[in-house]
Symmetry: C2
Subunit: 408 residues, 2 copies
């Protein structure tokens, strides 16, 4: 698609744009690092994790109680309490287990291995202690009560996590439990963040760069601040060329529309080994979003209005990071919700329109309010929890209508 002009938009549907974009570059060879398990939260797993042995490794007790042979208690009742002799105790971590005989019980703590010949657990709450070594039971248990069988949690040989999973709190907990002290993870893709615009050069912090950096981090990229570049073609060329040396991808903000100072696409195309892959999305806000590959590396050009940048990032930036990072976990959470008011979405075919939504509560379905305002309005973003995409030829949204919402 090298015939794409930088000045003329050639709008592409969002779903096509994702495909075109992801097919236009190869993920770089992934670097792997080893992290200690207490630093593994939110890291991208770079190996399949195989469970070595069954979990639990033996039948264990689900309660603090007494391991018994259920046959000894068949006839137990309030009028016929049965007494059993307590011959010992087992706790989690004890590898040696005693054997019970007829008329005998053994104290077991939750998680302890089951003594030999025992087949049932009577919880402590269900016995009377007659003396230190004798318990009384007044109801017959069922065979197998409160025993967790070997391998019922995880099977030896089972692949419990696959490469590409972003590790959550519970995953890390399981890895520690399985005895892992460290784990192999992918080095997160370095994403250069570059704001453009003469008006931004003087400020110490760049609002859009900060937002984009946090979003990149939330989706498991590693943001690299490339600062602000003024609206000067050669300066832009220079900073992108240098920036690409130390990053896996650059995301630029602003300067990609068709105005006098919109120099980004032209500057990017003037770099050697550069190919413009996408020049515009059939989606507003964010329609100016453009994409090039430079020296094999993705360069995503996001529009400068805050809502447009956010839409461009969620549409193309998130899939790009997933591909670069080798991430297989689902990173976006979507659900259906009911709109609480009539709404006129100005007709603008062939463009999809994105509206930001605020969650209000729920009846059967979550209720959402559409938070609207020009694409440069920041108040819209700070009031919203997510967004919805309205198809090109739809104009009116009725109160009570059901829409799909993607959470930020």
């Amino acid at each position: 698609m090298s015939d794409l002009s930088v000045k003329r938009f050639r709008y592409v549907s969002a779903s096509d744009a994702v495909n075109i974009t992801l097919n236009s570059f190869d993920a770089p060879p992934r670097r792997i690092k080893i992290v200690s398990i207490d630093k593994a939260f939110n890291e991208i797993l770079a190996e399949n994790i195989v469970v070595k042995d069954d979990v639990p490794p033996h039948d264990v007790s689900h309660f603090d109680g007494y391991a018994v042979d259920f046959r000894d208690l068949r006839d137990a009742s309030p009028s016929n309490p049965v007494h059993l002799r307590v011959i010992g105790s087992v706790f989690p971590g004890d590898d040696e287990v005693p054997e019970i005989g007829s008329g005998e019980a053994c104290y077991v703590a939750t998680g302890a291995f089951i003594p030999r010949n025992a087949n049932t657990i009577v919880p402590v709450e269900a016995v009377n202690l007659i003396d230190e070594n004798v318990i009384e039971v007044r109801f017959p248990p069922k065979i197998g009560d409160h025993i967790i069988s070997r391998g019922s949690d995880l099977r030896g040989g089972e692949v419990v996590f696959k490469t590409g999973r972003v590790l959550r709190a519970f995953d890390v907990g399981l890895l520690a439990f399985l005895g892992f002290e460290a784990v192999r993870v992918f080095v997160k893709p370095k994403i250069g963040v570059l704001s453009s615009g003469d008006e931004l050069v003087s400020s110490r912090f760049t609002s859009h760069s900060l937002m984009l950096s946090y979003l990149i981090r939330r989706f498991c990229g590693c943001p690299v601040d490339l600062g602000v570049v003024r609206d000067d073609r050669s300066e832009i060329v220079d900073v992108i060329r240098k920036g690409l040396k130390d990053t896996d991808c650059i995301m630029t903000i602003g300067g990609c529309s068709r105005g006098v100072k919109d120099l980004l696409p032209d500057a990017v195309l003037s770099l050697s080994d550069s190919n413009m892959v996408l020049r515009g999305l059939k989606r507003v806000p964010g329609r100016q979003t453009s994409f090039a590959v430079v020296g094999g590396k993705p360069v995503l050009m996001l529009p400068g209005l805050c809502q447009s940048m956010v839409v461009g990032f969620y549409t193309l930036g998130v899939p790009i990071i997933k591909k670069l990072g080798g991430i297989t976990s689902q990173l976006l959470f979507k659900f259906k919700a009911k709109v609480v008011e009539d709404f006129n979405a100005s007709f603008m075919p062939p463009f999809e329109r994105v509206f930001f939504v605020k969650l209000l509560g729920f009846n059967d379905l979550p209720l959402v309010h559409l938070v609207t305002g020009p694409s440069m309005h920041r108040s819209v973003l700070i009031k919203s929890n997510g967004f919805t995409v309205i198809p090109p030829f739809k104009i009116n949204i009725k109160r009570g209508e059901i829409i799909e919402v993607t959470l930020f």
Copy 2:
């Protein structure tokens, strides 16, 4: 409730337990620190943020285009194209704006202030450039087209964020835009994490401590690792007494049931100025969850089975952190979902039962599958996205029934 015995449970409903717990301690005087705006993500705001001046401070253009007086273009049509002379240009950041006269236009970039006497923007896409200084327009615009009026985003004097808000990416972006270089935030509450159990002493990483630490961090607490204590009453007393000196709260794991080695409640009560506030939840898993106040500081005793710990934490741990941290943002996301299979939830009044759920997709409503297994099964947690609470007297859940889900 100092008559609470440590050995006997006195189960309390989850909603009552939250009230009892939160009313039993005062939040400590909050410490405030100043963080640079680029470090403010996920921090707890400790001041109200007031917008100084209207945003935008003047009427601005929503598009790259030409500022005109709409009356000059009233009669424009394809058969009667109107030519206007371009007298200059304005970009974002330019404080000085020109004045247009009759038959004149001025180039404006997106976000630029509107030239005097102009009342309408014609986007660049809608004009033909006749020469460098003359544009041709073939359609009449409507007055006010593409002008964003002063103060339409935010009003000067408006309180945009209140104390206690957990700052998101967009919030930080807005703060930077408003000129903040630093912001006052609350020092996050220090939550001591203590695992108990002889069987855990030898492992380098403690599975449950890691999980709980990540969960605490996710809910804006600052976890402090207090290590592992063996099942020894005086050791427990010692580590809790010392731990409370450096933390705002301690959350213990394990040892709070009624077994032989369940020494936590007794040890906690033996500390001076200690009061047992809660001994058991009417909720399973997690029914052993207990709570004491020691020297004015909350001590949450969580059960040792992984699912029980998680339920106890989401039920009481999250509200405790919110109170200690002065957090007003909503930290848990709830929604309704449809169950995809019949399910028999064993009858266990007066206990609510918590089931973990996996999101499968959605029709009108999100579909969820109940992931079940004994409370010690870790596989249940790693397969789930959230949980649901089933009321005490409900047994059967039918396919298609609607339940409320809380996302992890």
